[in-house]
Symmetry: C2
Subunit: 338 residues, 2 copies
DNA sequence: CGTTAGAACGAAAACGATTTCGATAGCGGT
DNA sequence: ACCGCTATCGAAATCGTTTTCGTTCTAACG
C-alpha cells in the first residue's frame, strides 16, 4: 500500500506538506498542492482510516443497534426499510455504518464498549429492548445517540407518530360511517400505550362508544393471537363493524378468521392494518392500512445524529414525530348510516 | 479514555507487559498477568480498535455490499434475511460488519478503495450489479471476497440452488399430476438462466412437453408484468394447469388476475411461487412456494469469508449451493389424472 | 537599508496499540 | 564455582496519519 511518506519522497516535499495538500489546506501554494494531489492519484494512494481516526478521534462511522429478538428486527420490513434509508442517507453524508453487537469482539462485551472500541462518532438505536441495562448505559454515555420509536428522557429520538396514526384511522372509519370499532393491539409497550390512548381519545372526540370487549390484546407479528381475538370479536352479541389490527401480518390472520366464519372482508366487516408493508397492495382484498414512513424515519435519524456529531454545541435533544398516511384499500366498507 | 500506558503506570510494569497480559500471552507470570487484567478491568479499560488495526493490519471487520437498486436490495426480505444471518454469524465469530458504499467517504469513491480504507479483512457481496466494473475490481483485488448468488470464475460464492429449486418444483407438480406447466420467469440474469435450464431439463426428464408459449418473461418483483403474463396464459387455447412464478410477490398478482377471470386458485388452476417470504403462509390460499434458505446462505457466506481470512493458505475457491425446500400450501391442486 | 509581515514549507510529537529482541535473574547440573 | 537454560519482563521501533510550531524566504514599506 502506498502511503503518505511514499508520496512525499516522490514529490520531494515533507510528509506534512503531503498531508496538507491531500486535506485541502491553504497554507501551501496552489501549484505544489495540485502537483501532490496529482501524483498521489497516479500512485493509487488510498488513505488509512485507522491511522487517521487514531489521530483525529473522528471515525465518520455511525454505529447502529438492531437486535433481532424473536425475528422482529432486521427481518421485519419496517426495520429493514429504516436501515436502508439510514444507510443511504449516512453514505450521502460521508458516513459509514457498522452494526454494534454485544458479542465479544476485541474483548468488548457491551454495546457501549463496542461502540467505543470501534470509535463510532454516534449510534442510532432501533429495535432493541429499551429496558436492557446495556442499552441504557449506551444512551447515558458520552457518545451521541438517537433512538427510534422510544424516547429516553432528555435524549433525542425519532418517533413514528402512532398518535396521529390511530387518530387518522379512527377519523377515517368515522367518516366511512363506522361507529362500532374494535381494536386489537400489541403487547404492552410505549408504542402500544400511545396507540391505545389515541384510539380512545379520538373515539371520544367523535362520540364513538368503545365497549371494553372491543379492545383486545394481541402481540405484534403473532398472527395467531390476532386470529383468536378476531374470533372472540365476531362471537360478540353486538360485534364491531370494523377491526383495527396491530400490524399487517396480524390483519391477514384476521382476514382468514373472518372468511372462515363465512363473512367477507370489506363487505360484512371491515378491517384496517398497520405498517403498510409492500405486499399490502398485492393481496386481495387490497389492505387498508396505515403506512409508516420508514424512509423518512431513517432520514431523520441520520440527520439528527449527524447534527449531534458535527454541531454538539447547537444541537438540542428533541423528539421528532414523523407521520405516515392512510392507504385506502378495499377492506373498509363505506356504511350508509350508523 | 484509559489506555494501556495508564494501566502500566498503575501496575508498575511496562507497556509491553500490559499488552501481553491483555492479549493472553504466556511469557509472563500468571500472577502479574491476572493482576494486570484485574486492574485494567477496574479502570474500565476499553481497547482502541484503530490503534490495534493500524499495527496489526487485522480489523476483524467484514464489509458487506448491498445496493438497493430499484428497491430489490435491503428492503427485499430475501436479502435482509441473509444480512441478518450474516450479521449474527459474523458476530458469533468475533467480527463486525460495516457496509461498503461507493459514495465519497474519506476521499474514497470506489468499493475497493472504500474497503481498503476501512481495512476490511474481507467483504461479502450480495445484491449488486455484478457487471459493475467497480464490483469486478473489488473481486479481483487482494481482498478476500465471497459473492452471493453469482459466481466469478475462480472465486468462491454462495448460491441459492436454483437448479434444485426448479427441479423440485417440477417434480412435485408432476407427482401431483400436472402435465401442463407454465413458467413465468424473471429478467435475464444468471439466476434466471439456471432456473430456466433446470425447468426445461426436469420437464424433459418427466416427459412433460413445454410449448413455447408456456414460458413467459416477467421481472422479479414487478407484479404487474407477471399479472399480464398470467392473463396471456389463461387466454391460451390450451392453457396450463399450473403456473410457476418468478417470486412470491409476482405470484400474488397472478392470483389476483386468475380470480378476476373467474377461476379460483388451487381448484381451477394451480400456482407456485418462489422465495418463501414469511407472509406466504398467512395469505389465502396459503401459497405453495419454494423457500430459499436465506439463513443458511448467510451462515455459509460468513463461514467461507472467515475461512479465507483466517486460513488463506488452505482455503480454496469453491461454489457452495444451498438448497431450499418446497413449502406446500393450498395453491396446487392434486390432479387425478393428466 | 533595515525592519517586518506573510507565504510556503518542514521537523517532530503525538495518537494507542503490538511485537521483536535483548536484558536480567534464578536455578539446576557438573 | 561456573555454565547454560528458562522464565519473566522492558526498551524501543513501528503502524500511517495529523497538527503544532518553527524556520526560511520574499516582498513591501518607511
Amino acid at each position: 500500500m502506498v502511503k503518505i511518506s511514499d508520496i512525499a519522497k516522490k514529490c520531494n516535499v515533507s510528509i506534512s506538506t503531503v498531508s496538507k495538500a491531500l486535506n485541502g489546506r491553504t497554507d501551501l501554494s496552489q501549484q505544489t498542492s495540485s502537483r501532490i494531489r496529482q501524483i498521489a492519484h497516479e500512485m493509487g494512494y488510498i488513505p488509512n482510516a485507522n491511522a487517521r481516526i487514531l489521530k483525529t478521534n473522528r471515525s465518520y462511522n455511525i454505529g447502529v443497534l438492531f437486535v433481532d429478538k424473536t425475528g422482529s428486527g432486521l427481518s421485519h420490513e419496517y426495520f429493514s426499510s429504516i436501515l436502508n434509508s439510514l444507510k443511504n442517507e449516512a453514505e450521502a453524508n460521508g458516513y459509514d455504518i457498522t452494526f454494534i453487537s454485544n458479542q465479544v469482539v476485541g474483548n468488548c462485551t457491551t454495546y457501549y464498549e463496542h461502540a467505543k472500541y470501534r470509535g463510532c462518532d454516534g449510534v442510532v438505536i432501533a429495535s432493541v429492548d429499551f429496558h436492557d441495562p446495556q442499552v441504557i448505559e449506551l444512551v447515558e454515555s458520552n457518545i451521541p445517540t438517537v433512538t427510534i420509536d422510544y424516547v429516553f428522557d432528555g435524549h433525542t429520538s425519532i418517533m413514528s407518530d402512532n398518535v396521529v396514526g390511530l387518530h387518522d384511522i379512527v377519523e377515517y372509519l368515522h367518516r366511512m360511517g363506522h361507529r362500532k370499532i374494535a381494536f386489537i393491539h400489541g403487547e404492552n409497550t410505549a408504542i402500544t400505550q400511545k396507540r391505545l390512548a389515541s384510539f380512545y381519545k379520538t373515539c371520544e372526540e367523535y362520540g364513538i362508544d368503545v365497549p371494553d370487549d372491543y379492545v383486545k390484546e394481541g402481540m405484534y407479528h403473532v398472527p395467531k393471537l390476532s386470529g383468536k381475538a378476531t374470533r372472540e370479536l365476531l362471537a360478540l352479541d353486538n360485534p364491531p363493524t370494523c377491526i383495527i389490527y396491530p400490524d399487517d401480518y396480524s390483519s391477514l390472520a384476521g382476514i382468514t378468521e373472518i372468511e372462515r366464519s363465512g363473512l367477507t372482508v370489506g363487505k360484512d366487516i371491515s378491517i384496517v392494518g398497520y405498517d403498510g408493508i409492500k405486499i399490502s397492495r398485492f393481496i386481495r382484498p387490497e389492505l387498508t392500512t396505515y403506512v409508516q414512513d420508514s424512509e423518512e424515519i431513517g432520514k431523520m435519524a441520520t440527520k439528527k445524529i449527524v447534527e449531534m456529531i458535527e454541531s454538539p454545541k447547537t444541537s438540542v435533544a428533541e423528539q421528532v414525530y414523523v407521520k405516515g398516511h392512510l392507504q385506502e384499500g378495499k377492506t373498509v366498507k363505506a356504511l350508509i348510516s350508523e
